[in-house]
Symmetry: C2
Subunit: 264 residues, 2 copies
């Protein structure tokens, strides 16, 4: 079983990409909807919530973890690896950093994410560690999460909010922009339009799935340890109607959503 | 001690009004920032969180509770009263309903609130119970919470989002509009502009404070039981910099914010 978690619904974009890449594996997903969003919360609180999510997924039989949330990846992945030595933990920041470095010729890279992700400085640190000549222009785009969750994807107000957040990154003439939140691929068209031609948009969901696939090809023991069967089960810490509705629309099929008692 | 709670920062508008009305009393405030917002969560989860908030405030010595949150008032006030018989619990819905009925001549009343507040139907139920001839036009305006918390109060995008939410209420020709979320008074100018002339805007913070004051005047035993001294202490379940910053701006003085360990 592969355990995947996110603060809420955004990580379903990662589930969709994982199931497309490896339909033979079995997945268990947890959205921590009782405490979402994570992006406005403190590092300590995000780490505590991420611990709860991993503990729940391990109890459900997960043999590997995918942190399908940029905020938790930025603030909790080192903490979780130290807490669970030997457990394969995939996260979205490293793969997105490597994909951005591969895509950027000018080594001018933009980043948008939640307040917590951008505030952590983790993306800049990893980009500069890999290539000290890289210039990074990072801006939080916190409002986009609510706009996506409320379904205002095609609204002119959303285009205008995107344009405002993007302006300093666009002016910096980057040639790659990291979509550092799992909600943002939903707005790829709007963000791409605001950035203009010649800018690669780096989707962290696609990036982590590519690395997940490559890791399994290289690690026969891990590959052999994983359950087959192609099942997927979905848990949320708060059963709101919105999760099942939006999730079914994103995944193209009705979701049987169960409640995870992790936030009591 | 008066205990006041909200899902986060919005309830500070109630604290400001309470302290202006009764500066001699002592207050303890709890913002459940670790689990905010409440307005997108399920009724069961909102009730559980509200229980935690009340338990914390009672442990701090509160002799009366003010639920400074429309979502918790709509979904948890009956539950909390049943759980704490004899404890004076003020909530914002009843006072706002009475203020709206007093302000509306045409008995056409509008309501905006969170998804959870509007979805609960509590406002309509109370309005119709008081006067079956009242017509109510209710719409959630969930995005306004994020727009206020991100400080986009004067942005043209916010005016446009307000206009879209308000349109069906404006078309219904109401003469009173209940601002059914403690964040909305911050947008009073924008909302008033969108509604046009001749519509009374009902601020639930002002309404609950007026009833609080009147209740104390009528209830000498309750009045006598409350601590004097004019102190105020502030707790949050997640210590984010935003709370102290925005809180200081709203209250006009720096806040000493402590951490409440209620969300573990």
């Amino acid at each position: 079983m592969i355990g995947i978690f996110d603060s809420g619904i955004g990580g379903l974009t990662v589930v969709r990409a994982l199931r497309a890449a490896r339909p033979d594996l079995s997945y268990v997903y947890l959205g921590d909807t009782a405490r979402a969003p994570y992006g406005t919360k403190s590092p300590e609180t995000i780490r505590r919530y991420a611990e709860d999510c991993v503990d729940f997924l391990l109890a459900k039989g997960a043999k590997a973890i995918v942190i399908a949330c940029n905020t938790a990846s930025s603030l909790a992945s080192e903490h979780l690896r130290a807490r669970h030595p030997g457990l394969p933990i995939f996260e979205v920041v490293g793969p997105a950093v490597r994909a951005a470095l591969a895509a950027s010729k000018k080594k001018y890279i933009g980043l948008i994410g939640t307040r917590a992700t951008v505030g952590s400085g983790v993306y800049e640190k990893m980009l500069k560690a890999a290539d000290p000549s890289v210039e990074v222009v990072a801006r939080h785009a916190q409002l986009l999460i609510a706009l996506v969750e409320e379904g205002w994807v095609d609204a002119p107000e959303t285009a205008s909010v995107v344009a405002k957040y993007i302006a300093p990154i666009r002016e910096a003439s980057v040639d790659a922009l990291i979509l550092g939140c799992t909600h943002f691929p939903i707005l790829k068209g709007v963000i791409g339009g605001a950035m203009g031609e010649g800018v690669a948009l780096i989707d962290s969901a696609e990036a982590v799935v590519a690395e997940f696939r490559a890791t399994l090809e290289a690690d026969a023991a891990l590959e052999a340890s994983l359950d087959r069967g192609g099942s997927a089960s979905y848990f949320v810490s708060d059963p709101t109607p919105a999760f099942a509705e939006i999730g079914a629309a994103w995944l193209g099929a009705p979701l049987d959503v169960q409640t995870a008692d992790i936030a009591s």
